[in-house]
């Protein structure tokens, strides 16, 4: 088990190097640091001296991959790629273009992101699975059919509308919850309520449909027929046989996103003014702060790969057929 995990982590390294290479190419080769300097300083009155100063200040004045002026090992290490990208592996994100410590910012903003993302994830999981089981129990009935139509309708509305409608109804008209803002601890519950409810509702359509199709696939299997034949009630069949067997495909889809919950939700956080990583990313995109976007891309990829490893591990825990 341990050996497998170590192997998987080693496997992740080339992928992360690839991620770095892609972001590096996007940020430094499609546009040279000179272009970025011009964009940051404003296009009008830039002199070569100003550009050079900006590049020196940001450390962007080194060659891309190979430094001919340095000696020995420094030929490779004293370059932009090593300086800007490989140090991310040490989770050293450096300073943002506004000269703030990115690692500190990320640490401080993880909490609020999780305060929204984790409850949304858990409540959505339970609601979706219970509703899907209910529909499978009544499969083919009017309830099932109409629920499926409603599910397609829920899926067809852009998430932005749910947020705007929720804010207008619950905050502006009925004054149940504040329209936006955040506080840590229990005082923050009133701020979290609406985003979580909207998040759960917006995902209801696709979620219920997906779980329902998983359970329906199981319900036609031979072992279910056997269970019915030995006289089990339909509810017992569902909970004792269909649900545990359906857990395996569910694990593949669900475990992989758990680590990414740290990244928060982009639109939810910016609409509700929650100081999490999602709104951090949006602010960075709007301010064209490349350092932060780069750090978030790297962090997101790491969390995704962690999710993949966790998926494999969870398989060995839940499926006795799989051994590592």
């Amino acid at each position: 088990m341990l050996a497998y995990i170590i192997k998987r982590i080693l496997y992740a390294i080339p992928i992360l190097i690839g991620v770095n290479l892609i972001t590096f190419m996007l940020f430094f080769m499609v546009n040279t640091p000179d272009d970025m300097a011009r964009a940051q300083l404003g296009a009008k009155q830039t002199t070569p001296a100003m550009i050079a100063a900006w590049k020196a200040e940001k450390g962007y004045d080194k060659p891309l991959f190979y430094n001919t002026e340095a000696s020995g090992i420094q030929k490779v290490t004293d370059t932009l790629f090593v300086n800007e990208s490989l140090k991310l592996f040490m989770f050293d994100f450096g300073l943002s273009d506004a000269n703030r410590n990115i690692a500190e910012d990320i640490k401080a903003r993880m909490g609020p992101s999780l305060a929204i993302a984790l409850p949304t994830f858990l409540i959505a999981l339970v609601t979706n699975i219970s509703l899907a089981l209910l529909l499978v129990l009544f499969r083919g009935s009017v309830l099932d059919m109409s629920a499926m139509i409603v599910a397609v309708m829920i899926m067809s509305v852009s998430g932005l509308f749910y947020i705007i409608a929720g804010q207008v109804l619950f905050s502006k008209l009925w004054h149940w919850v504040p329209i936006s803002g955040y506080e840590s601890g229990w005082a923050g519950v009133k701020f979290v309520l609406l985003p979580v409810a909207i998040g759960v509702f917006a995902g209801l359509g696709s979620g219920v449909r997906w779980y329902r199709s998983i359970f329906l696939e199981q319900i036609n299997q031979d072992y279910v027929r056997t269970a019915r034949a030995k006289g089990l009630s339909e509810i017992a069949v569902l909970f004792r046989h269909v649900l545990p067997n359906g857990m395996l495909p569910i694990l593949t889809g669900v475990v992989v996103i758990i680590p990414s919950l740290f990244m928060g939700s982009l639109i939810m956080e910016s609409f509700f003014g929650i100081p999490g990583l999602g709104s951090y990313t949006i602010d960075a995109i709007n301010a064209q702060d490349f350092a932060i976007v780069k750090a978030m891309v790297f962090l997101g990829s790491v969390l995704y790969i962690v999710g993949l490893i966790l998926t494999d591990i969870s398989y060995t825990l839940f499926d006795p057929r799989v051994t590592l």
Binding site: A39, M155, I164, I282, Q288, Y304, I305
Partner: protein
């Protein structure tokens, strides 16, 4: 007046050509012909297809551009849709007004001849009062007339001589395909559009926005953006996914390792961030090359093109993975071995024996991705990495309308318009893709 092709226009018409030849090739085979008849046998699928057809028609109408050389030097680029809607495009009001309103939405201070200032609701400039009933009648009648003529022509074409017999079977719903539903939806849509169109000469049917622009016009113009992002992205995705997926599955070995490494790496980057990074870089690139475009419309078009390419390059991985798995399975089958034994070349085997057996996966993924891409445009525009802010798109409309909801009283119509236009398109696409998946997915075959 000369015909003018924007970059995306060229791509759209290429896509139309590809789609027409593709469906012609598909329908030559009786098996897939039967499958498509199966798909359209569902009334819901037929109705959705008609709705999608209307959206497509608007997108295509908006993809034929003309450069009008004005004597005073300006050379605006307008599309056929702009020409049809010229009465709304060129006459904008001062500020907000509600749908079918005759006066502005907010009071303005007016100083009369005596020097006294009062607060009044100013009348709108381009609204003709009292036209409600007569214009409605005119619009509905015109819609009916167009629908009846077109449906009549279609009936005549399908009847193969016996028109009254055909009319009877269609009316009783005894045709193989649910033509009755199709004609019903068609009539409904035509009448509705004709009514809105005729009314738009006398009123602002969906109100006006902050600077007095007509919301109905904006929503219609947004159709092109939405449909283009939903369809053209596939044009970028498909060649990449098919070529890489089939190569990985067929050659295996190091080719497979390399391609797998490529898509694992790409898919491990969070999608929105990768798109954001790409769009940010594109912005810097376009800021540094102002010589690439001559006018605002060309700039926003170029930006749309880049966005589509970025979306395509970041979204081929899922399809590629599926195609690779399926190719692995097919490549072991007897008919491929036989082809190899006959000395058919590798590329020919891939093109003639493997790809045709992958069409169902490709088709399902095209229709499945469409609605997701239309929805993604709205989110991306909100995040600030979508289409150009000057371009008409539902995302931009929502983005502007968001702040209007905070006004007292609320300005709801921009949001309402983008909601309705998007909802109908995405719902139709979702319903249609459900049916396509149900019929084409071999796992559902009995």
């Amino acid at each position: 007046m000369t015909l003018f092709f924007l970059w995306t226009d060229i791509l759209v018409w290429t896509l139309v050509a590809v789609a027409v030849t593709g469906s012609w090739m598909l329908l030559r085979s009786p098996v897939s012909r039967q499958k498509w008849i199966m798909i359209f046998r569902s009334k819901i699928a037929m109705a959705s297809a008609i709705v999608l057809m209307f959206y497509l028609a608007f997108a295509l109408l908006d993809s034929v551009h003309f450069k009008i050389n004005k004597p005073n030097g300006g050379a605006p680029i307008v599309s056929l849709l702009d020409m049809a809607m010229a009465h709304q495009k060129d006459f904008s009001e001062r500020t907000y007004s509600a749908p079918f309103a005759t006066h502005e939405y907010t009071k303005s201070i007016v100083v009369d001849a005596a020097g006294k200032s009062t607060q009044r609701y100013l009348p709108l400039k381009y609204v003709q009062k009292g036209q409600m009933l007569s214009a409605s009648l005119k619009g509905i009648l015109a819609g009916m007339l167009i629908a009846v003529v077109l449906i009549g022509l279609h009936l005549l074409w399908r009847s193969k001589g016996d028109f009254s017999m055909r009319l009877k079977t269609v009316f009783l719903g005894e045709t193989q395909l649910p033509w009755r539903t199709a004609y019903g939806v068609f009539t409904l849509m035509t009448v509705l559009l004709a009514w809105l169109y005729v009314m738009s000469f006398s009123y602002h049917v969906l109100g006006t926005d902050k600077v007095g622009g007509d919301v109905f016009y904006a929503a219609l113009k947004s159709i092109r953006t939405g449909v283009l992002i939903g369809t053209l992205t596939t044009l970028v995705t498909l060649p990449l996914a098919i070529f890489l997926g089939v190569s990985a599955g067929y050659f295996r070995g190091w080719v497979d390792d390399l391609i797998q490494y490529l898509y694992t790496t790409l898919s491990s980057i969070p999608g929105v961030l990768l798109i954001a990074a790409g769009v940010l870089m594109m912005q810097v690139m376009m800021d540094n090359h102002p010589d690439w475009f001559a006018s605002t419309i060309e700039r926003s078009d170029l930006r749309l093109l880049f966005l589509i390419v970025i979306l395509g390059v970041t979204s081929w991985t899922g399809l590629c993975r599926m195609l690779r798995a399926e190719t692995l399975r097919i490549a072991k089958m007897d008919f491929v071995t036989a082809a190899k034994a006959f000395g058919v070349s590798k590329w020919r085997i891939m093109a003639r024996h493997i790809v045709p057996n992958l069409t169902h996966i490709i088709l399902i993924s095209i229709v499945l991705d469409f609605s997701g891409l239309v929805l993604a445009e709205a989110v991306l525009s909100y995040v600030g990495v979508g289409v150009d802010p000057t371009m008409y798109s539902w995302g931009n409309m929502i983005n502007q309308a968001r702040l209007e909801m905070a006004r007292e009283p609320m300005v709801w119509w921009s949001l309402f318009a983008s909601f309705i236009f998007m909802f109908i398109l995405v719902l139709a696409a979702n319903l249609f893709s459900d049916r396509v998946q149900q019929v084409l997915d071999p796992r559902n075959a009995q």
